[in-house]
Amino acid sequence: MTNHNRPTSPDEKLSAFTDQALKGEIQQPASASTDELHSLEETVLRLHKSMPNSALEESTKKEMLARLNARIRKEQHQPQKKTFWARLFSLEWIQSQYRPQLILAAGVLTALIIALAFFPASVSDSSTTVGTALKPGNHTFIILGLIILFCALAWFTRKK
């Protein structure tokens, strides 16, 4: 290496040292022990020594590929696991003939809950502050809510 090519900045020096260390050409820090760079070089060597970078042998690669293929084949033959929510909304936990009734019952129940929740808003009052957000004329919100709810139920229970 000529003087012209010799690294000068700490960045350059550490990079050049790392290149040599990874090639196995250097086993000891190259900088003076008082340098900041010296401890960085030590870290590079420590990292390199503790994490061997040897490639997998061909036989190991083939064994791993065989295990991967076996696992893929096994997964293909197994039914896919569904998440809790997917199972809940697919209603597969209930016999198919009872599903429409269940959906209807859930719909009615939800409608009742919504109606009860909005009940004070639908009662006319002499006070100017009670139920102003949802006056009897504003039942559109409730109807809209119910429509959205039924749409959501229909979406979740659709056949995929």
Binding site: D11, S50, L56, M64, A66, L68, I72
Partner: protein
Amino acid sequence: MDTDSTTIPQETSDETLIQQFKSGNQEAFNLLYQRYINNVYKRVRYVVPESEVEDVTQEVFIAALKSLHSFRGDAQFGTWLRTLTNHKVAEFYRKRSRKQEPRIAPLEDAFGYLEGSTSRMMEERIYIQKALSQLPENYQEVILLRFAEALQFNEIAELTHQNIEATKSLFRRAIAALRNQLDQ
């Protein structure tokens, strides 16, 4: 899927292999596996306990197999696979923390793994993995690219869209941060 990749020439490009796989040629995936297994395995080995390295590596390739059909080729396959590897490593630690297992294997795990590795070496590896895992992502990445994947600094610069001086500077700061972690 057969384990022998004999009918496709070894020098076939990644893009061609991906196209062939998308057309139903499973053998093309085997060749991609053979081509990239070392990089994935080495990267995983730097950040995951030794006993889990093969499992996580296999998870990466299973995920690749499942999503390769939607790979559009915006990035190189190697880059895409590297991102997938990082996701799988993150997922591994998410699952582990859900089970309330320590992020890095306890030191007792250091004994008994890997033929030819002394327990002292395994212990050191665990310390280094722990220190690495504490580093910011860009520091981890530059160290993994240089050490685990053995990329040259100019290749790292190209990959990370930086100039070489910035890459070397990042590397020095990453090593300094790692040293500080190890000293703690």
